[in-house]
């Protein structure tokens, strides 16, 4: 069971990419619940609403930071957010760098304000 107030969800078009990010984050965030959704329902390259929904549900935390690769993953995440009861922060930041920062800070016990402040300069996503 996670002892941290925030969980992290990675949503990528490619299963290996999502899984690889989790591996990178786990090195510095052993006690943070990190789940992922990668690819379509049949593990092809793409986005899956159902996988994202599952990753959100499976995460042990009730407050989540979600990171995504491309806009189509983002829109699927938004649909999941509208139907979920968890508190979910969808981050328009660099996927790997943003998720790594959030993971390291969550592990270190940082507050929501500190985390979002550190993520702010990594905001690079504008196109839908």
């Amino acid at each position: 069971m996670t002892t941290k107030p925030f969980g992290i969800v990675i949503s990528s078009h490619v299963p290996a990419l999502a899984e690889g990010i989790v591996t990178l984050l786990k090195e510095v965030a052993k006690d943070v619940s990190i789940t992922y959704a990668g690819g379509t329902d049949d593990d092809q390259v793409g986005a899956s609403f159902e996988k994202i929904q599952q990753a959100v549900m499976d995460n042990e935390a009730d407050e989540l930071f979600v990171f995504y690769d491309l806009g189509s993953a983002k829109m699927n995440v938004e649909m999941v957010i509208e139907l979920s009861e968890k508190t979910i922060h969808l981050m328009d930041v660099a996927l790997v760098e943003g998720a790594y920062t959030a993971a390291a800070l969550t592990q270190g016990g940082a507050s929501f304000e500190t985390i979002t402040e550190q993520l702010q300069p990594l905001t690079i996503k504008s196109r839908g």
Partner: protein, 196 residues
């Protein structure tokens, strides 16, 4: 007006057109995106077909809601949330006023705008939905010619939303795949008898 019958017929017709043009849609997407738009739409609409067969419906809003949820959960890609939100908003509006086709399609457009945050001229499906709504509001009707015109106008647009936007200038000269599939959706509305 929207009825269970014509809404069902419309969705069947949409499914058929997408199926018949699946590889064409993916080809269009290969040029300026990742080449999966046909696959995505066919997967989502196959689920809609399945649900249409397995269930019976009391109202057009029920049909639309079911279709929306099927598209959201199975389509994948950007088009899943976009078409899904459109149909979900249409189902809400049709419950209020099933007679006003224009208002219902406008609710769908607003759903797409909310979800994708695009405006006109960004080379997306919005460039078909928006002028279709305007025609319906002004003239209460829509011809296939007008639809084709709206679709083909995306060719000369520079993409600033979606995957194609990564290409910048290089997206010029290609039809937008989501605009083309939206063209099928509106043609199917005519074929299904919702619009004449």
């Amino acid at each position: 007006m929207f009825t269970v019958e014509n809404t069902t017929k419309w969705l069947h017709a949409f499914h058929e057109k997408v199926q018949a043009n699946q590889s064409y849609l993916s080809e269009l997407d290969s040029a300026i995106g990742d080449g999966d738009h046909g696959t995505n739409m066919a997967r989502g609409l196959a689920e809609v077909e399945r649900k249409l067969k397995e269930n019976s419906f009391e109202s057009p809003q029920e049909v639309l809601k079911m279709a929306a949820m099927a598209l959201i959960s199975k389509t994948g890609g950007a088009s899943g949330p976009l078409y899904g939100t459109a149909l979900l908003e249409m189902s809400k509006q049709v419950a209020i006023d099933p007679d006003h086709i224009g208002k219902t399609v406008e609710a769908g457009l607003n759903g797409i705008l909310k979800r994708g945050k695009a405006t006109t001229g960004e080379k997306t499906m919005v460039d078909v939905w928006k002028p279709v709504v305007e025609s319906l509001m002004a003239e209460q009707q829509l011809s296939k010619e007008r639809i084709h015109q709206f679709v083909s106008e995306t060719k000369e647009m520079k993409a600033t939303k979606g995957r194609a936007s990564y290409l910048g200038e290089r997206s010029l000269g290609h039809l937008d795949p989501g605009a083309v599939s939206s063209g099928y959706l509106f043609e199917a509305m005519i074929d299904g008898g919702i619009l004449s």
